[in-house]
Symmetry: C2
Subunit: 88 residues, 2 copies
């Protein structure tokens, strides 16, 4: 298992399909950010699905992974959007 | 020094001021994402400046920090936006 942060910059006409894929694997925590624990196998499956949805010439998805959750210290300035998103 | 990823979801009327602050400390790598090496002191200064710009009730900034850059494996799906942004 690894902890992953996924950020994206997607054309308006494709962004909902990208979110639909990511919602099945990770938690939507900020407008263009998903986070969560995921196995290597599921991450590969998720990335394959994303590749079939995005336009590789103009859309951008960054996947930051780290083996141990505690390697990363997370701080929040302003409000946490997590709850608002995962109700939708 | 730490390696930090900063993501944000900011009201339209404040987002340029937030980017102006972040550009002085980190690299703009994706529409709502900055990244880079930064000292603890400079990170504190940056966060104080952000606090004075954002609306804490509606704006959201997440700061993910790693003591060691190599703890975090980054993968890109689609295109890398880094160059486009740092020319502006």
């Amino acid at each position: 298992m690894a902890y992953c942060i996924v950020t994206y910059d997607i054309g308006e006409e494709r962004v909902n399909r990208v979110r639909k894929v990511l919602k099945r694997y990770l938690n939507w925590v900020q407008n263009s950010v998903f986070e969560g624990e995921i196995s290597e196998g599921k991450l590969e499956k998720c990335l394959q699905e994303l590749k079939s949805v995005i336009n590789a010439d103009s859309d951008s998805v960054y996947v930051y992974c780290f083996e141990i959750r505690e390697y990363c210290r997370k701080r929040v300035v302003g409000c946490e959007k997590e709850n608002t998103f995962n109700l939708i």
